[in-house]
C-alpha cells in the first residue's frame, strides 16, 4: 500500500524514547522507562492518523518525540524530507514552522502573562522579519480562521473560556503555515459540547489548508470521526494500524478488540448485542515490560509463543498491520 | 599618708607627663573606640561609664584624681586643705580658687557662677540628676567672687572632695544650660550632646549611640596642648571587635573596656600593634551570702527578710567553709587573665585603704570539710550530700547571664559539690537582676536565693559611702520596696557604730584604719561577703599612642590633653 502512494509527509522508523530512572543516594542510573519502544508508521500528506491507547501507553510521548520536544533515544523521524531526530538545534528551530502541535490543556499551554496577540505573533517574531503591521494582520487573519473575535487580541488567556483557549492554541499553531500538526488530546480538557466544535474546526482547517494531522486521543468515537487511519498503541508499541472503517468494523489485534468493545454503538440494535471484553490485571510497568508479547499478561487469547517471542508489526490484510502471533507468519513488515 | 605627700605625688604625676610635643594640634587625629556607644555627653543625665568617660575629654571638674588615687587640681590653683585654709576648721566648708584667665571653649570666662549653677542643676528635684550623691550634704554653693567658690556643708564633712571632683561631677557652663534646669533637663538635646567645656577637646559632631567628633579646644589653658588636632570616639560592636581594631588591624588608637577571654588577649598581643592596660579600681566580683531565709514556703513579705534567719548560712562555719573551698587563682586564670587578681577584700584599693587580708587566697578543701563536720553537717546517708537534722545541705546560687559568670558558677559548683554541698545554679538576665523592679522575684536586692554573685565597686577612692551599704538600715525589705544596698541584710551594732565614727573622722590615716576594719568585718570576720576577684578594666592602646596613663579613680581619658603620637 505504502509503495504505491505518493511520498509520505511523515515517516517514522523504529522510534524509541527511553527515560532514564535515577535512584539511590548518589542518583545513579538505575534503569529506564521504555515509554516508546520501537514504533514505525507513515502519514500521508493531507491524511489524519489517529493514535489511540490507554493512559500511559506512550501515545503523547510519540507526539512529542515526533516534534523533537523530546530527543528520541533511537530511530528516525523524517518529516518533509528531513530527519527531525538528528537535526542540529539551530536547524531544528528553522524546521519548527513546518510542524506544530496543539496541546491538551489549553490553559496551561498558553503563557499566562502574554496577550492573545503576543502569543500568536511570537513565532512570527522569531521566524519572519515582517513588520508589526503585517504581523497584526496575520494575527487577525488567524483569529478569523479559528473563529475568534478580533477585538479579543489584547486579552489574556485567563479571560477566555476553555473552547476559546483551544482556538487560540490552534491559531498559534497555524501562525507559520505548518504542514504537519500533532494534536495531542486537543479536546480531552473540553466540555463535550465544545469538543465537537473544536474537532469540526480542525477538520475544516485541514480541508482549507491541506494540513496533515497526527490526532492523539483516548476518545475512540472522536477518532472515528476525524481519522483516516488509526494506530492502536499498547505499552510503547503499536498493536494495530488499520484504516478507520476496517478497524472499527473488525479489529484484529486482541487488544484493539478489547478496546473497541468499550465504544458504545449508536445503533441500539447493535448496541444491545455488543459484548464487552473486560481485560483483567494491570498494565505492566514500562520500566519492566514482560518478555515476549507486551500484551501477553492480559491477552484473553494468549498462548505459549506469546510469552517467548515478541511479535512484529506486519501487514496481515491489505493496509492492515497487526503485531500478533495469531495472524500467522508473514515476513512483510510494516513500511 | 598625709595630704601633703598626696599633693607631692600629684605634682610628681604631672611632672611625669611626657613633654615630647611642643605644639597644639600637630599630631592629627586620635581615634578611640568604645564597645558601648556614647549616648549623651552630659554626665549628670547618665549612669553609663561610656558617657562619663567621653564627656571627660570635654567637661572638667575642679579637681581630678591620678592613677594613684591622689587629688590633683584641674581648674583650680590648688587643692584646698585645712593647712592652706581651703577647708574650714570645723570641716563644714571648702573653698576653691579658680585658675586665672580660665576660658570655656567658646571663649567666655569660667566664673564661680558656673559652679553655683552646676550645683543647682544637679540638685534640682525634677532633674533626675544621676550624680546627686556627689552633692549630698552640700547646703549651699556660693560665688564669693568671680573666681572663688565656697561649698558649705550641712554638717562637718569628713570627705569634702565630692562636689566638683572627678569626671562624675564636672563643671557645666551656666550660659549653655540655663534653660535646662529641672524637668527641662532632658529636652536640651543640643546642650546635652555638645556641651561647652574647658577640657582639651570640644565636641564638633555628635550622633547618638554612634560617634563623637571632637577638635582641639582653642581656648585650652595649656597653649601647647592637646597634641591632637581632632579626636573621634566610635561606639558599638563588642569588646572583641574593639580590641581587634586596636591590637590587630590598627584602625584605632585606644579601645576602652576590652574585656575578652585570656587566650584571646594573648593571641591579639602577638600581632604586636598595641598593648593591653589594666585599671584596677575597686571592682570586686564577689559572692554575697544571704543571712535571711529565702524559702519560697515563707509568706511573701516575710520571705528573705530579717524575720527569718537563714537556716544554713547563719552559721559562720558554713560560710567560711564555702569560701575556703574556692580556688580564686583558677577563677582569675579562667575568666580574666591580666584583667583580674584574686582578692579577699571588698575594698581592694587604693593602697592604704586595702586590708592586708590574704587568708582566703589559698584553697583549703580539707579545712573546709572539717569546718562543715564541726558545724554538724555530715553525710549520714552516704549520698554525697551533707545533711543535718534531716535537712540536706542545699544551696541555690544565682547570678546574671554572662559567660564568665557561668564559668565561675560551674567551677564553684564543682568545688562545693566536692565539699558535699548540693548546689543549684540559676542565671538571670542582667536587665532583670539589676533592674530593681520590686515586682520581679529575680532582682539582686530581693535575693530569693542562698548566695548570689555579681560585681560592685566604690565610686571614689575614699570608700566611705561604699562601706555605708552594710549598715542595718540599708537592708532591702518589703517596707523599702526592696530598695537598699545591704544585699546580705548584714546587721551588727558594732559595724554601724564603727561606721558612724568613720563619718566623723577626718585624719586620713585614721580613716584608712577604720575602713580596713570595716572591710574585715564583712569579709574575713563574718564571711558575709566572699570576695573572689579584684577586676580591672582592660583597655587597649596602639603602640603609636603615647602618654596613656591608665586610671581607675577618674576617667581613663583623664590626661587626654597629654596624649601624643609616637613618631
Amino acid at each position: 500500500m505504502l509503495d504505491a502512494s505518493p511520498l509520505p509527509l511523515v515517516r517514522v522508523r523504529d522510534l524509541k524514547m527511553h527515560f532514564p530512572i535515577y535512584a539511590g543516594l548518589l542518583r545513579r542510573r538505575a534503569g529506564e522507562v521504555k515509554a516508546v519502544d520501537g514504533v514505525s508508521f507513515d502519514i500521508m500528506p493531507g491524511e489524519t492518523l489517529g493514535l489511540v491507547g490507554e493512559s500511559g501507553c506512550g501515545k503523547s510521548t510519540v507526539g512529542r518525540a515526533l516534534l523533537r520536544l523530546y530527543t528520541p533515544t533511537a530511530g528516525s523521524v523524517v518529516i518533509d524530507g528531513e530527519d527531525v531526530a538528528t537535526l542540529s538545534p539551530e536547524a531544528l528551530r528553522k524546521k519548527r514552522p513546518t510542524m506544530q502541535m496543539v496541546f491538551q490543556d489549553p490553559q496551561a499551554s498558553l503563557n499566562p502573562r502574554m496577550t492573545l496577540a503576543a502569543i500568536i505573533s511570537e513565532p512570527l517574531d522569531e521566524h519572519t522579519d515582517w513588520s508589526g503591521e503585517r504581523k497584526l494582520d496575520r494575527v487577525h487573519e488567524l483569529m478569523d480562521q479559528v473563529g475568534l473575535n478580533r477585538a479579543f487580541a489584547n486579552r489574556y488567556p485567563h479571560e477566555f473560556s476553555g473552547g476559546q483557549r483551544q482556538r487560540i492554541g490552534i491559531a498559534r499553531a497555524l501562525a507559520l503555515n505548518p504542514k504537519f500538526i500533532v494534536c495531542d488530546e486537543p479536546i480531552a480538557a473540553l466540555d463535550v459540547s465544545i469538543q465537537a466544535q473544536v474537532v469540526n474546526l480542525l477538520e475544516d482547517l485541514q480541508e482549507r489548508l491541506g494540513l496533515t494531522y497526527l490526532f492523539i486521543s483516548h476518545d475512540l468515537s472522536m477518532v472515528r470521526h476525524i481519522a483516516d487511519r488509526v494506530a492502536v498503541m499498547y505499552l510503547g508499541q503499536i498493536a494495530e494500524l488499520s484504516p478507520r472503517d476496517d478497524l472499527y468494523a473488525r479489529p484484529l489485534h486482541p487488544y484493539a478488540q478489547a478496546l473497541l468493545s468499550a465504544v458504545p454503538e449508536p445503533d441500539p440494535v447493535r448496541e444491545a448485542t455488543r459484548k464487552r471484553i473486560i481485560l483483567t490485571g494491570d498494565v505492566p510497568s514500562p520500566a519492566n515490560p514482560p518478555a515476549g508479547c507486551n500484551f501477553c499478561t492480559r491477552c484473553p487469547k494468549v498462548f505459549d509463543r506469546c510469552r517467548v517471542e515478541e511479535p512484529r508489526l506486519a501487514e496481515v490484510e491489505a493496509g492492515r498491520f497487526v503485531a500478533c502471533h495469531l495472524y500467522g507468519d508473514t515476513n512483510k513488515t510494516a513500511g | 599618708m598625709k595630704l601633703k605627700t598626696l599633693l607631692l605625688g600629684a605634682a610628681a604625676a604631672f611632672a611625669l607627663a611626657p613633654a615630647a610635643h611642643a605644639e597644639r594640634g600637630t599630631d592629627g587625629e586620635v581615634k578611640l573606640t568604645f564597645p558601648q556607644a556614647v549616648s549623651i555627653m552630659n554626665p549628670y543625665l547618665t549612669g553609663g561609664t561610656k558617657d562619663i568617660y567621653a564627656a571627660s575629654m570635654v567637661l572638667e571638674p575642679l579637681a581630678g584624681l591620678t592613677p594613684e588615687g591622689v587629688l590633683i587640681p584641674k581648674l583650680v590653683t590648688e587643692i584646698p586643705t585645712k593647712e592652706n585654709g581651703g577647708i574650714s576648721e570645723d570641716m563644714t566648708s571648702i573653698t576653691w580658687k579658680l585658675l586665672p584667665d580660665l576660658k570655656w571653649s567658646d571663649g567666655t570666662a569660667v566664673t564661680a557662677d558656673d559652679a553655683v549653677f552646676t550645683w543647682q542643676y544637679c540638685t534640682d528635684p525634677a532633674g533626675g540628676c544621676s550624680q546627686a550623691t556627689k552633692y549630698e550634704g552640700v547646703a549651699s554653693v556660693e560665688a564669693v567672687d568671680a573666681s572663688t567658690i565656697k561649698v558649705t556643708f550641712s554638717g562637718p564633712k569628713a570627705n569634702p572632695y565630692t562636689a566638683f571632683v572627678s569626671a562624675l561631677a564636672p563643671l557645666l557652663q551656666k550660659k549653655q544650660f540655663e534653660a535646662c534646669l529641672g524637668a527641662a533637663a532632658p529636652t536640651c538635646t543640643d546642650a546635652n550632646n555638645m556641651p561647652v567645656g574647658t577640657g582639651p577637646f570640644m565636641v564638633t559632631g555628635f550622633t547618638v549611640n554612634d560617634t563623637v567628633q571632637m577638635a582641639a579646644n582653642p581656648n585650652y589653658r595649656d597653649p601647647a596642648k592637646p597634641a591632637f588636632a581632632t579626636a573621634v570616639i566610635k561606639g558599638g560592636g563588642d569588646a572583641e571587635g574593639s580590641a581587634r581594631a586596636v591590637m590587630e588591624t590598627g584602625e584605632f588608637d585606644y579601645a576602652w573596656n576590652t574585656q575578652i577571654p585570656p587566650e584571646t588577649q594573648e593571641s591579639m598581643k602577638a600581632a604586636g600593634k598595641g598593648e593591653f592596660v589594666v585599671a584596677f579600681g575597686t571592682l570586686v566580683e564577689r559572692i554575697e551570702m544571704n543571712t535571711t531565709d529565702p524559702d519560697p514556703a515563707l509568706p511573701e513579705g516575710e520571705r528573705a527578710t530579717a524575720k527569718h534567719p537563714h537556716p544554713i548560712l547563719s552559721d559562720i562555719k558554713v560560710r567560711t567553709a564555702l569560701s575556703k573551698a574556692i580556688d580564686r587563682s583558677i577563677l582569675v586564670e579562667v575568666g580574666y587573665g591580666a584583667g583580674g587578681k584574686p582578692t579577699c577584700n571588698v575594698i581592694p584599693g587604693p593602697e592604704g585603704w586595702a586590708s592586708d587580708n590574704e587568708g582566703c587566697i589559698a584553697q583549703d578543701m580539707e579545712g573546709a570539710k572539717a569546718l562543715l563536720d564541726e558545724a554538724g553537717w555530715k553525710d549520714s546517708d552516704g549520698d554525697g550530700i551533707r545533711d543535718k537534722d534531716g535537712k540536706k545541705l542545699h544551696i541555690l546560687y544565682q547570678t546574671t547571664v554572662n559567660p564568665i559568670r557561668q564559668d565561675f558558677q560551674a567551677l564553684i559548683k564543682d568545688w562545693w559539690t566536692e565539699l558535699g554541698v548540693d548546689v543549684e545554679l540559676k542565671a538571670i538576665d542582667p536587665g532583670v537582676f539589676f533592674g530593681g523592679d520590686p515586682g520581679s522575684p529575680d532582682t539582686f536586692q530581693k535575693f530569693y536565693a542562698d548566695v548570689e554573685m555579681y560585681a560592685n565597686n566604690s565610686e571614689s577612692p575614699d570608700p566611705e559611702s561604699y562601706l555605708g551599704q552594710y549598715q542595718c538600715k540599708n537592708a532591702p525589705s518589703p517596707e523599702t520596696q526592696w530598695q537598699g544596698e545591704n544585699i546580705n541584710r548584714f546587721c551588727t551594732p558594732e559595724y554601724d557604730a564603727l561606721y558612724a565614727t568613720l563619718a566623723t573622722t577626718t585624719d586620713i590615716a585614721a580613716r584608712q584604719e577604720i575602713a580596713k576594719k570595716l572591710n574585715d568585718m564583712v569579709t574575713k570576720d563574718s564571711m558575709i561577703v566572699v570576695p573572689l576577684v579584684h577586676r580591672g578594666t582592660l583597655s587597649a592602646h596602639s603602640n603609636s599612642l603615647g602618654g596613656v596613663q591608665i586610671n581607675a579613680w577618674d576617667s581613663e581619658m583623664w590626661n587626654a590633653a597629654d596624649w601624643f603620637r609616637v613618631k
Binding site: R27, R93, K94, K95, P97, Q100, F103, A108, N111, P112, R113, E122, P123, E126, H158 | T33, A37, S39, I40, L45, G47, A126, G128, S130, T133, P186, T187, T189, N192, T207, V208, N209, D210, T211, G235, G237, D238, G241, A245, T249, E251, F252, A271, D429, P430, G431, V432, F433, F434, G436, S440, D442, N456, N457, S458, E459, S465, Q483, G484, E485
Partner: protein, 335 residues
C-alpha cells in the same frame, strides 16, 4: 485596584492601633528597668528621681496615650514646623529616648541612612547574586553548578552572620588588611578617594549580609523556575521554535519572577529594620544597632517607636507585594 488599595489602607488603621497597644504592653511588661545599666553605686533614691524624670513612673495607659499623641500629632507636626517654619507644636515634648534623652526621630533620622546604604546594598547585591544562581541552577537541575549553588545556599542559610562576619574580618581585615572592620558613619563622600573609602568600609558588612540574602532568594528563584520549567506553555514556546534563550528568559523567567518579586518586596521592611548582629559587628550603628541597644537599656520609647514603625512598614509592604502581584500577573485582579 485603587478601591482595593484604599480599603486595605483603611483596614490597616485599626490593625496598627491594636498592634501599637500590644507592642507597648509587651515592652512595658517585659522584665527589666531603664535603670538596669546604671552602676550600683547610684543609690536608690537617686534612681527613683531619675525614673521620675524619665516619666517612667506614670501608669502604663497614661504613657501609652502620651506616646500616641506624640507619635501621631507632635512628631508629624514637628516635621511640618520644620518644613514650613511654623511653630504649631513648639515646646511640646517629642518622643525622647530614655537612654540618650534625644528625640527618637532625630536618632532614627541619623541612623536610617547608613542602614539603608549598607543593608540596602547588601539586599541588592544579594538579589543580583541570587537571581542568576537560581535561574541557572534550575535550568541545569542536578548539574555540578546546581550542586555548588545548593551548597552555597546551605552555607548562607546555616552559617550565622556573627560567624561569617567574624571570619570575613579575620581574612580580609586582619590577614589581608584590605578592608576596615569599623564603619565610619561620619564619612562624607565628596571625591573618588572618599568614595573608595566608603566602598571599602561597606565591603565586609555587605558581603556578610549579601551572602545570607542571596542564599534565601536564590532558593526561591530556583524552585519557582523549576515549577515553571515543566509547564505546558514552555513546551509550547519550544514547539513554536523559539530560541532557547527566549524560552528561558521570556517565558520561564518572567513567570517565575512573580513570586520572587513579591518575596523580595516583603523583605524590604527588613532593610529598614537593619541587621542587628551585622550592624553591631561592624559598628555600622544603624537602626538594628539602635534597636538592640535600646532593648538592652530598656529604652521603652525607642523600642516602642521602632517596633511600631516596623509594623507599619510590614503592613505597607504586604500591601505593596499584593499590588505588585496584581500588576505582574494578569490573572489577578483586585476589584
Amino acid at each position: 485596584m485603587l478601591t482595593f488599595t484604599l480599603r486595605r489602607l483603611l483596614l490597616a488603621i485599626p490593625i496598627l492601633l491594636v498592634i501599637s497597644l500590644v507592642i507597648f504592653l509587651l515592652v512595658d511588661l517585659a522584665p527589666g528597668s531603664p535603670m538596669a545599666e546604671i552602676p550600683l553605686t547610684v543609690p536608690p533614691d537617686v534612681r527613683q528621681k531619675m525614673i521620675e524624670a524619665l516619666g517612667a513612673d506614670q501608669p502604663v495607659f497614661v504613657r501609652y496615650l502620651l506616646w500616641l499623641k506624640q507619635f501621631f500629632w507632635i512628631e508629624p507636626m514637628t516635621l511640618y514646623d520644620g518644613w514650613f517654619g511654623t511653630s504649631i507644636v513648639e515646646g511640646q515634648q517629642r518622643i525622647l529616648s530614655w537612654q540618650s534623652r534625644s528625640p527618637v526621630f532625630t536618632i532614627i533620622g541619623q541612623r536610617l541612612p547608613q542602614t539603608l546604604i549598607v543593608v540596602g546594598t547588601a539586599y541588592l547585591v544579594g538579589i543580583m547574586i541570587a537571581l542568576p544562581i537560581g535561574i541557572y541552577s534550575a535550568y541545569r537541575q542536578y548539574s555540578f553548578f546546581d550542586q555548588v549553588g545548593t551548597l552555597f545556599a546551605m552555607i548562607g542559610f546555616s552559617v550565622p552572620t556573627f560567624f561569617s562576619g567574624t571570619l570575613l574580618i579575620i581574612i580580609f581585615a586582619v590577614w589581608l588588611g584590605w578592608f576596615p572592620t569599623k564603619y565610619d558613619t561620619m564619612l562624607e563622600v565628596t571625591d573618588w578617594q572618599s568614595f573608595l573609602q566608603q566602598v571599602k568600609q561597606m565591603a565586609l558588612p555587605v558581603m556578610t549580609l549579601g551572602l545570607a540574602n542571596a542564599a534565601t532568594i536564590s532558593r526561591y528563584m530556583r524552585s519557582s523556575m523549576l515549577d515553571n520549567m515543566t509547564m505546558d506553555y514552555v513546551r509550547t514556546a519550544r514547539a513554536k521554535g523559539m530560541d532557547e534563550k527566549v524560552v528561558v528568559l521570556r517565558h520561564v523567567l518572567r513567570n517565575s519572577l512573580i513570586p520572587v518579586v513579591t518575596v523580595i518586596a516583603l523583605g524590604i521592611p527588613s532593610i529598614f529594620g537593619g541587621a542587628i548582629i551585622t550592624e553591631n559587628l561592624f559598628g555600622v550603628n544603624g537602626i538594628g544597632a539602635a534597636l538592640i541597644g535600646a532593648i538592652h537599656a530598656n529604652d521603652l520609647p525607642m523600642v516602642q517607636t521602632l517596633a511600631f514603625i516596623f509594623a507599619v512598614l510590614i503592613v505597607l509592604f504586604n500591601l505593596i507585594a499584593d499590588i505588585l502581584y496584581g500588576l505582574l500577573d494578569p490573572r489577578i485582579r483586585y476589584d
